[in-house]
C-alpha cells in the first residue's frame, strides 16, 4: 500500500515535531533537575529599593534572582544557578553580584536567603573585603 504524497509529507512533519517536542521535554526535565539554589553570602544597600546580593556560584552557570518575597519584617531572596550542559575549567568557585529591586523601601527589614532560610550578612564593601568589621 502506498501513502499519498501529501499525507506522507504530513507524516514526516509530524514525526519531526514529535521529536522536537521530546527534546524540549527532555531539556525541561534536565533544567528542573540541575537548576539549584545558591547561597547568598552578603548584600549591600544601593538605595532604599535597590540591593546588590553576592552569591556563591561559578561564572559559567546561569545565575539569577528567582524570587523576592517581601513582608513587613523580612525580604526573602532566592538565587538559583543553572550549570551549562558542558562545563569548561576555570570558572568554579567564583562570586557573582546581582541587583535586586524591591517593591518597598528596605528600612530595617532583615534580608533572608531563600535557599537556606538564614539571615544574609550586610556589608558596605566590595569583595574580597566584605566581611571586615568596618564594612558591617
Amino acid at each position: 500500500m502506498t501513502i499519498p504524497k501529501p499525507r506522507r509529507r504530513w507524516l514526516v512533519l509530524s514525526t519531526i515535531l514529535f521529536v522536537v517536542f521530546c527534546l524540549i521535554g527532555m531539556a525541561a526535565c534536565t533544567i528542573l533537575v540541575t537548576d539549584r539554589a545558591v547561597w547568598i553570602e552578603y548584600y549591600r544597600v544601593v538605595d532604599q529599593q535597590t540591593l546588590v546580593v553576592g552569591a556563591d556560584t561559578d561564572s559559567h552557570s546561569w545565575t539569577r534572582v528567582t524570587s523576592v518575597v517581601e513582608t513587613a519584617t523580612t525580604v526573602t531572596i532566592t538565587v538559583r544557578a543553572l550549570p551549562p550542559p558542558i562545563t569548561s575549567p576555570g570558572g568554579a568557585g567564583q562570586g557573582l553580584e546581582l541587583i535586586v529591586k524591591l517593591r518597598d523601601p528596605i528600612g530595617s527589614r532583615t534580608v533572608v536567603d531563600g535557599s537556606s532560610g538564614g539571615a544574609v550578612a550586610f556589608t558596605r564593601c566590595l569583595p574580597p573585603t566584605t566581611m571586615r568589621p568596618e564594612c558591617l
Binding site: 504524497k5 501529501p6 509529507r9 504530513w10 512533519l13 549591600r44 544601593v46 538605595d47 535597590t50 546588590v52 561564572s59 546561569w62 570558572g91 568557585g93 567564583q94 562570586g95 557573582l96 553580584e97 546581582l98 541587583i99 558596605r124 564593601c125 566590595l126 569583595p127 574580597p128 573585603t129 568596618e134 564594612c135
Partner: protein, 158 residues
C-alpha cells in the same frame, strides 16, 4: 489545474521559521555570554604617590578604594564575574581623574614610577600577590560617609 504541493507551500515557510528561531537562539546565547563582565581590578602602584580607584557601577553605586604608594592592591576581587557594568577611574587624593576605563574586563592598573597609568590584563602571579585595601568616604563614594583621606593598607592579601 495542478494543486500546489505541500513541499512548495509549507516547507519553505517552515524552513524559514526554523532558521529564524535558530538565529534568534544563537544571538540570545551570544548576547547572554557577552553580558558577563569581569569587574576584577587590581592596582600596581610603583610611584611614590598615593592614588584612589573609583568604581562607578551603572546602577549607581560608587566605591572608592586606596592605592597607596609602592603597593599592589586588590580593588575588587578577580573572582567576581557578573552582569554588572562599571566605569573604573584612577584618581589622585584630591579626586582629580588620572585615567578612566569603561567595562574593562578584569585587569590591572599599572602606575609607573613617573606616575603615568595604564590598564591591561593581570597575570596570575600579580593577582596572587595583591594586598587588600580600604575603602574611603571620598570622591563621591556612596557606601561610606566622607572622612579625611589617609591611605594605609593591611598586608592580608595573597
Amino acid at each position: 489545474m495542478q494543486r500546489p504541493s505541500l513541499a512548495s507551500k509549507s516547507h519553505p515557510r517552515l524552513r524559514r521559521t526554523l532558521r529564524v528561531l535558530l538565529v534568534a537562539t544563537i544571538a540570545t546565547l551570544i548576547v547572554a555570554g557577552c553580558s558577563l563582565h569581569s569587574i576584577g581590578v587590581g592596582v600596581s602602584n610603583s610611584s611614590g604617590e598615593d592614588f584612589y580607584v573609583r568604581l562607578h557601577y551603572d546602577y549607581g553605586e560608587i566605591h572608592v578604594l586606596k592605592a597607596p604608594a609602592h603597593k599592589d592592591v586588590d580593588v575588587v576581587w578577580f573572582g567576581e564575574v557578573g552582569e554588572l557594568q562599571a566605569t573604573i577611574e584612577l584618581l589622585r587624593p584630591d579626586c582629580s581623574v588620572v585615567g578612566s576605563w569603561r567595562n574593562a574586563s578584569g585587569g590591572m592598573i599599572t602606575i609607573d614610577a613617573a606616575g603615568s597609568a595604564s590598564f591591561g590584563p593581570a597575570s596570575e602571579q600579580q593577582v596572587a600577590n595583591l594586598y587588600y585595601t580600604d575603602e574611603v568616604g571620598a570622591c563621591g563614594a556612596t557606601q561610606f560617609p566622607p572622612v579625611s583621606p589617609s591611605p594605609s593598607v593591611s598586608p592580608t592579601g595573597g
